[in-house]
């Protein structure tokens, strides 16, 4: 039964290695055969790069583009796509009262400046602290700090798209994307917000971003293979991807009043964090499954990262607790987008429901065929290192669907 307080998805912005825009991503996913990857640039690591983008399509001023590092540009661009898709872009009244929640990490460092410092110290200069001060003071681009700063993705979205109702940035890998949607949906459901922009972005095409995973031995070094088949791969099992995923969420009443198209409705998000041994992880996953009634879903969209232990635990949960529900591991096609993983999975679930088509099998080693159009999809994110989240996305019914 639909209610005016339902939280509905009315706009989707996606930029991934599959393409730009919700429809292009959907079509590429449906036709998925092999991933778009680059195994040369950061060898021995493989990444899913974003396609060439005409940034000025969503970030009109070149001056604004220059103020952002890649991650902020991807996010600001993708946020613009979501606003445009929702028919909100450029609507001053709606943007000025729109709330914003962003899941963000940090931006990219200046590799050349870091290399100068490392080189001088490796060459035998011993006054480490003084060298760092000297080089950073003289070589850093003054505005680079802002282009790196976590909350400035939200800041740029406010500046470029004039979304100014409120602005909150959550941090903490996949967990931040889970919390962002959890908090966003709760605010709408309680009447605290009527319309809200939420999502995240990640740029993996930078050695410092890869370094932060590799310090924990999480990156896969073998030739690419699907996310469910990495248990015995060399290194970790994560293949990262650049990209962004933003959604506009509204109360059903707000969406209907402005005649918006409704992709799908999203239920409460259940999330947790705790010890990552298999037994404790399984207890939490089963509890979250109960809280969201995810067993009732016709399909699962999983944001599994391929991280060895965590994805093994997720596979065990899916095959033992939800044995009859077909699963799609979408990171096979997009790579792992860190903070944006959960928003991405929710977006793809909403697209599937709206198109009335199941996401096709991306890897038949673990994913069962189905020809039925899903009416509800469970979204599961098990963080590569920590944090878990689940939600149910259901087919929109009534006006706007």
């Amino acid at each position: 039964m639909s209610s005016p307080d339902d939280v509905v998805i009315t706009g989707i912005g996606l930029l991934t290695s599959l393409g730009e825009g919700a429809d292009a991503n959907w079509e590429a996913l449906c036709a998925f055969d092999a991933p778009t990857i680059d195994s040369e640039r950061f060898a021995p690591y493989t990444v899913h790069p974003v396609p060439e983008v005409d940034w000025s399509q969503q970030i009109a001023k070149r001056g604004d583009q220059r103020q952002m590092e890649a991650w902020q540009r991807i996010g600001t661009y993708t946020a613009g796509l979501a606003l445009e898709d929702a028919g909100i872009k450029g609507n001053e009244a709606l943007c000025a009262t729109m709330d914003l929640v962003v899941a963000a990490g940090g931006g990219e460092r200046d590799v050349d400046v870091d290399t100068i410092i490392l080189g001088r110290i490796a060459a035998g200069e011993t006054d480490t602290g003084t060298i760092i001060n000297e080089v950073l003071t003289s070589e850093l681009r003054p505005t680079l700090f802002l282009a790196q700063l976590s909350n400035l993705l939200a800041g740029n979205i406010s500046i470029v798209h004039k979304v100014t109702g409120s602005s909150r940035t959550f941090m903490g890998e996949e967990g931040s994307g889970i919390s962002a949607i959890q908090s966003a949906a709760a605010r709408i459901r309680s009447g605290q917000s009527t319309h809200l922009l939420v999502g995240g972005a990640y740029n993996t095409e930078h050695p410092d971003m890869l370094l932060s995973y590799e310090l924990g031995h999480y990156l896969m070094r073998d030739p690419w293979r699907p996310v469910w088949q990495r248990a015995r791969s060399e290194g970790g099992g994560v293949v990262t991807g650049s990209g962004g995923a933003f959604l506009t969420l509204e109360s059903r009443a707000h969406a209907q009043a402005r005649g918006a198209r409704i992709y799908a409705a999203i239920g409460d998000v259940a999330a947790d964090l705790g010890p990552t041994d298999s037994a404790e992880t399984r207890k939490r996953l089963d509890r979250l499954a109960g809280e969201t009634a995810i067993a009732d879903a016709d399909m699962i969209v999983s944001a599994a990262s391929g991280s060895h232990a965590r994805t093994a635990d997720e596979k065990a949960f899916l095959s033992e607790s939800l044995p009859d529900t077909p699963v799609r591991g979408v990171s096979t096609a997009t790579g792992h987008l860190c903070e944006a993983q959960f928003p991405l999975a929710v977006a793809l679930a909403a697209l599937s429901l709206s198109k009335g088509e199941a996401i096709p099998v991306l890897d038949d080693s673990f994913e069962a065929k189905t020809s039925d159009a899903p009416k509800s999809i469970g979204v599961v994110t098990v963080g590569f290192d920590a944090a878990e989240g689940m939600a149910i996305v259901t087919k929109a019914d009534g006006a706007g669907a």
Partner: protein, 427 residues
């Protein structure tokens, strides 16, 4: 029968515990006695060399962790101390807290000592030239659990969750200089929505490093008045020239008034209202007309269900930058009108510096203490008032006053503005 719902029919949010650490010391007692005495925690930096730096002063916290432990370790230690003090005061369990955690924490990065260690290991492992390829080689061939953890944004919250037994997925957030206030706002909202009966909200920042200082210097945000460190932070003065970076943490335990009463807790105060508004003007400058700050103040008053004449004292954002103090004064004059001349407002940052991510939470704790003690902490270093700012800034010496309700302001880089209204427990 005590009223347990507010003017909008939501559960009233009671503050039942508070904790604080700043460069003045650890704990509310030490901080409050020094703060009201007008002592400054700003000093010459000894943690790292300051050659080549334009700013050589800060309000670092040097008594918690050894300098080589790094930012993530200090950021955690500060948060833990403030949270344990707050939970201790609330009388709730400090290892099985049982409610959610909202943490405002600075963004993390690998630190220079870690980069240098990796590069050197990479060289030994046969890597080529100094740089990222060699660091990546070291990363994949060696074991660096501590380095990995210190570079993950969820680390501090995860560790704090394990320490205190908070529940659910903790939220780590950043709204720049408004972060601490946002953490409190998120906690209050969870109680109002009925998602939790108790929450802990904390803002923490232990991120004064050479690189952080250089970054803010390059934006011309910092005071360069290095000669007499304790006099550099001078909010609302004519010769103010920037903020002074500082460290610390502030925490609140909040509960629904109903559940706090039911367990017989002491009610320290009420978190009555939160308001926020984002600025779309510029990455580091606020809109010249102050409209986003004005909207944030008005939103907080509306959320609290109070009028301007219900506010007895304002805890200023008051960073000591030329721009903030002017904009804050303009915004408040717009909202409060002529009455602003008679509402005292002071800046804790004149003594503890700008604790960045922690500031909103620390200043909320001091706002609560202002209500509970009836003492207004001063704005020190106010010897040369800015004639364009006509505010009663409680100059240089504390003042006794009856305070029933405080407005606490936090305005951030990146345009995030958050204001809190904190009140005494209704009689």
């Amino acid at each position: 029968m005590t009223r347990t719902l507010d003017h909008a029919g939501r559960p009233i949010v009671a503050i039942t515990g508070a904790g604080v650490v700043s460069s003045l010391g650890a704990g509310k007692d030490e901080n409050w006695s020094k703060l009201t005495d007008g002592q400054s925690g700003i000093h010459a930096i000894s943690r790292f060399p300051t050659e080549h730096l334009r700013t050589k002063i800060a309000g670092t916290v040097d008594f918690m962790t050894p300098p080589e432990a790094g930012s993530t370790a200090l950021t955690y230690a500060l948060a833990e101390a403030a949270v344990l003090e707050a939970i201790g005061e609330s009388g709730l369990s400090a290892d099985d807290f049982g409610g959610p955690l909202f943490l405002a924490a600075p963004p993390v990065e690998l630190e220079w000592r870690q980069r240098l260690a990796l590069d050197s290991e990479g060289a030994k492992a046969g890597g080529g030239e100094a740089g990222y390829d060699r660091m990546l080689l070291a990363a994949r061939t060696g074991v660096h659990e501590e380095f990995f953890r210190s570079g993950q944004f969820g680390t501090v919250a995860g560790r704090l969750q394990r320490r205190i037994g908070s529940r659910g997925l903790p939220i780590t957030l950043s709204t720049a200089c408004a972060s601490g206030a946002t953490a409190i706002q998120l906690g209050a909202e969870a109680i109002r929505r009925g998602e939790a009966e108790r929450v802990v909200s904390v803002g923490t920042d232990g991120s004064v490093t050479a690189e952080a200082l250089i970054r803010f210097s390059l934006l011309s945000a910092l005071s360069t008045q290095n000669d007499v460190p304790e006099k550099a932070s001078k909010p609302f003065s004519k010769d103010r020239d920037g903020f002074v970076m500082a460290e610390g943490a502030g925490a609140f335990v909040m509960e629904s008034l109903e559940s706090a009463k039911a367990r017989g807790a002491t009610i320290l105060g009420i978190l009555e209202g939160c308001g926020e508004w984002a600025d779309d003007f510029h990455r580091t400058r606020s809109k010249p007309d102050g409209s986003p700050a004005i909207a944030a103040v008005r939103a907080a008053l509306d959320d609290a269900g109070v009028a301007t004449d219900d506010i007895d004292y304002i805890n200023a954002h008051g960073t000591s930058t030329p721009e903030n103090d002017k904009m804050e004064s303009l915004s408040l004059s717009t909202v409060f009108g002529d009455a602003m001349a008679s509402i005292p407002i002071s800046s804790n940052k004149s003594m503890i510096g700008h604790t960045l991510t922690a500031a909103g939470a620390i200043e909320a704790v001091f706002s609560l203490m202002t209500i509970r003690t009836g003492t207004l902490p001063p704005t020190i270093n106010h010897l040369n008032p800015d004639p364009a700012i006509e505010l009663d800034v409680v100059p240089n010496a504390k003042r006794e006053a009856k305070v029933g309700r405080v407005l606490s302001n936090s305005f951030g880089f990146g345009g995030q503005n958050t204001c809190l209204v904190i009140a005494a427990e209704p009689a």
